[in-house]
Symmetry: D3
Subunit: 277 residues, 6 copies
């Protein structure tokens, strides 16, 4: 069994069988991303990927708000934390740090298990990068969002500009939000499809997200892993390429006992029981 | 003139000039896809592509519901219908069958004529694969949808995971639907843009779809064929690539008499009359 | 300082610091695109790209409506303005003209400064091509839209079929609109996300667009230029490709004094002041 | 067992177990491609793909030379065989015919079994299209080659311009050959890597090609099918994409008994015996 | 008729009908690229593209050697010619200059007419960028080459790293050359396929190049333009994408009178006469 | 300073300043890849990437031959080392192991420092995967090569099928080699461009490789890192994409003091001295 008590900025437990809850846990700093946060997020989701006891993941923020974005000290480390005077060498240093932060966020997307974000109150800057790498997003009424980077004098660079326009259906609004950095409400987030449910409180948001996580965890892990994997692949390829890859992938995955188990369970009106990956 | 009376699972007629109505017609089995259905759908849409008497296509389901998905016997044939013990050989067999089913669904998308789906009651599993390969989707109030594959222990593999996220504007909901397999209503389908009209009954849905089909059939067939072809191409390429291909394509297509006929008809306030392809 | 008084079909001024207003100004012809319009639009936006006094652009139409599409004389020039009898040579001529028109529209997208369209009354055919190349779209209540090309006997070929489906979240409606050419209202445009704000009058639309332009112009020009550039790049690439390019891009851009200025200004509760590009 | 006696322009036999010899057999016309040739080539290689008795294919030409290119009557059918006066409709007709010819040539590449071309004397125009779709090319000393299309007033359009530059290592020469249409000898073909062996006579070329075909036919059919399939896929994708696809493909294919059989046979110094696909 | 006497660093004439000779003509500076050279090369090849009197282009260098690479003053302008202290703004300036130089070189590749380079003596740095954008390369025995950029402290950035590995068949040597910057001889250039002919003197190189240019100029301009255009397109796309684009392109281009003229001329054993583009 | 004494199967030293020599050091097993080898190779090249004391890398094999390919025990672990009976789960296990091996080989390609392979005697199976991920390849006369995987009953899956065809100029021979698994000599390797130098002995091969490594190590590390990085990027992208990325990359890298140092050193006829990365 994997040990998740090794993280400083993440608090982790199993609210139900096969469901893991990852809580961003640096409330005194509004869960802002510092160097340790990037590293731990990455390590945590790599570990989850390999953990056959996890079939669905919940992510939320401890304390007042979901996530306040990048810690300004960390931003400083990325672009300034060097005495380097040579521009090319400074740029190489900055790029290396950026790749670390990008890989951290992308580890959520690359994690084999579906991830549900339960957002309350503020979700700012890098917080948006994080939730757009999740599969499903719910939020509470009091949630507000901001693609804040433009106000720091830079363009978002750990995922928002790549993923946000591919998950919502109003590019005019996306660009307005990214170019002005203004706050937008849970209602606007719902209308453009950034979240697909708004609940009244943080608690209800968590409850609802857990309910969905439990449903996903009750399905064949081959089916849910494959669905997430193929959705990710297909987003970034043409329909034809997606179909070709799917045929290769499912040539093995369809030959699973899970199909028979799913069928038998349905026929017998019982809950199916799938073996671990 | 093409003969469409050769299909067992499809019932076909011309409700008006240049408009063909393809009815999924295996009502006793809720129009579920068996081996013959995949073959016929493919053959039918290849034939339509070559038929200069067709300028728009309507597709609907006979009987209680639109489509109940894959016939479980067929699923068995795909992954099980072989005594083969060697895993690699089984996988090759499965892959071959998958490609047949994928090609069947894709023949709708590749058909030169625009296709409008008129959906009523259930549209489940492979039914979703089918309608996402159509150009336009209308449904009746009683329609419900389900990306059911996850409940069968597998990931959807004949088009839904490729096409659905590219036609609707709420990826968070798409992933929830694909990962949980839950039913969603005509209202939800409208909200995320899977359908763009909800009518009160099956009959009204067909009537409305036919109205739109008639409008499309009244346009230059060069214009509608090109529009569908270029929309498909552009979905799967960058904007720049799409423009380059369009310039090559339209270098010939703009030199058509249809432009003059369209102009003359507008000036003369008469209906244009375009020659066949 | 750049001179913008050189255009015949465009009227240009600075409504506020760093904000340029480009008005389509051929009202007697409903701002329809003739040969000169294509050339001037291209020249104008190339000039804007290089103009360090511009940080945001407003585009609107003079007179009765925003834009009536292509001038039919120009359409004639594109496909007919040659005695050429050889089909291949005619096609090459047509292609050359098409590339000119495409480049004209694309110059808006490639312009380094964010562009906001303020639309009133009719926006037809090439007008849609134009606004889909802008970053943000607002319109007045009386606005109506039409992907008119199908009624001219051709498929849209200067951008609509490439960009429209990538900026709105209802592909079924997009295809209906492109295949039928029917008018759609400001409300429909809002619902599918083509515009993200509907104002009551043309004046209010302009006022609101200017407000947003002012906000954008108050940000670091490095940040807004990068944001637009990266959003464009990322739309046409996979998430991974987008991230790799972003890391290379921001390796230089993060090493800007604008970050410090933005930070200091926030701390000092004053407006930041960014030097020109 | 498949029947190959159904073709008019192809003569087919099994020179040894698991090796099929396809002979272009229209010697009176120098094996030039007419409508029937395109159709039969396509049908033949589709059939071979499904034939578990074939593990390697040999292709050669009967009579004086390997292949004289397209039959001029057929070229006429492609671009002229219609009374159509409308340019757009003529172009659509031409395109449809081109796609047929392209699919015919591509069926060799898409065939699951490796194909070896044994070329003698002339290989002209469409003959080059054909051999570049093969996996391995040997020729006799008297062989000469010509990318002849430019002399017919057109650009090669059934594969040469796509495949030739990707299989040889001298692009300057490729372009000279494609732009001048001049003959080039077996020696030049060897030097640029179009063929990898030159034998003294047609008979020796066939003997050598058969020897290689026999070796390939003696290997695991899973291994050779996968190798060809992955080489084709990887040519058209980045290294990273190729690796990702290979991992999905081989996740099933490595779990084959052929690995054990290959190992046991090597240990026991006997010829391995692989079951059919 | 186009006027080519407007360039300072280029000397241009027509050595024979339809063949244009562009001579790099800054011999006192060994034809090194300064700001004017980039601009003129770009302008010249844009003009050639539109000039129906040109069907093939020859490019050579006046004076002692073909091309000595970038003028160091120009390199200074690109990365240094600004008082700008802000790193991001300096980077944007540098990038703008780089794009100008890249577009200049790329204009040779994008020129509709085939371009043959006749190289003598030194071809260094940017000279390699230039010749790799040409279609065909011949050189004299005394020619030597050097991917010199690494010795200037930078990576080649106007085309060599993109094009060189795609036109020669020895990547190990390409990387050695790019990473060490060492000189390589005409023999090595021939062996890896960078040039496809080595002649004894500069004069013979020019004579041979002209001979090939004359042959190309004697062909249908539709055929040669299409061949170059499709070779360029296909290099950068998969085989399938290349075929699809070719079918769209040739749907118009095959409907040319040039096919009949080519056929008639062959039959009548006379030289064909093709009308201008 | 990095510590390289931590590896069991790799022996590492610095033969000269800035040049690291990695020796495959499992001679009793002919340097065959076992689980530990994959892990160490990966770890080692990740470490080298970060080590500012390394500017070029040499890789060779200890003992009788360069590399005998995969250890058969390891192949067993990949596809068999599980009691798993479910085909889908076995496939997922196999895929996970494959990704580990692929990442190991790819770490050479992704390493920021150029890597030169010095090959002697046998280079078999996974040995080919390894050397095709290097930048430059030299070998001794006694070297022989074999794409052996087909003889093990499988298709090569850790890089050969992706990289080999992109680095040599004779695809017909590549396919023959991959499909037959036959040995090929140093001469054949030279002729197709797999290696670009054949030396008489292992010692001379190492000496020559070290000479080249020393030259590379004497250049600006910004220049060599950028050159390798851009060559890798450009191989997998269109020329246009490669140029766009290069402009972004070099916008920072050209603003390096290394340009001035390189210039000054050349002028002063002294060796340049570049600061570390």
């Amino acid at each position: 069994m994997q040990d998740y008590n090794i993280f400083k900025n993440l608090k982790i437990n199993f609210p139900s069988q096969f469901v893991l809850h990852v809580e961003l846990n640096r409330p005194a700093k509004l869960n802002a991303f510092d160097k340790i946060s990037w590293q731990e997020l990455h390590a945590c989701f790599k570990q989850i990927s390999l953990d056959s006891d996890v079939r669905a993941v919940l992510i939320s923020g401890a304390g007042k708000l979901f996530n306040a974005g990048i810690d300004l000290n960390n931003l400083n480390e990325i672009n300034n934390d060097t005495k380097e005077k040579d521009l090319a060498r400074r740029a190489l240093h900055t790029r290396k740090e950026l790749l670390v932060a990008q890989d951290s966020i992308s580890s959520i997307e690359q994690c084999d298990k579906p991830v549900i974000a339960a957002i309350h109150n503020g979700c700012i800057g890098a917080g948006i990068d994080l939730i757009t790498a999740c599969d499903i997003r719910y939020c509470s009424e009091d949630a507000f969002f901001s693609v804040k980077e433009v106000d720091l004098g830079l363009a978002a660079d750990v995922g928002t500009l790549q993923r946000l326009p591919k998950i919502v259906g109003n590019n005019s609004l996306v660009r307005e939000l990214c170019l002005t950095g203004r706050n937008f409400s849970s209602t606007e987030a719902l209308n453009i499809g950034l979240v697909n449910k708004v609940l009244s409180t943080k608690e209800e948001t968590l409850t609802e997200a857990l309910k969905t996580a439990n449903i996903i965890a009750s399905k064949s892990p081959i089916a849910t892993l494959s669905t997430k994997h193929l959705l990710n692949f297909s987003r970034d390829h043409s329909v034809t390429e997606g179909l070709i890859y799917t045929a290769a992938w499912n040539s093995a995955m369809l030959n699973s006992n899970d199909l028979m188990e799913a069928f038998d369970a349905t026929m017998g009106r019982r809950k199916p029981k799938f073996s671990k990956l």
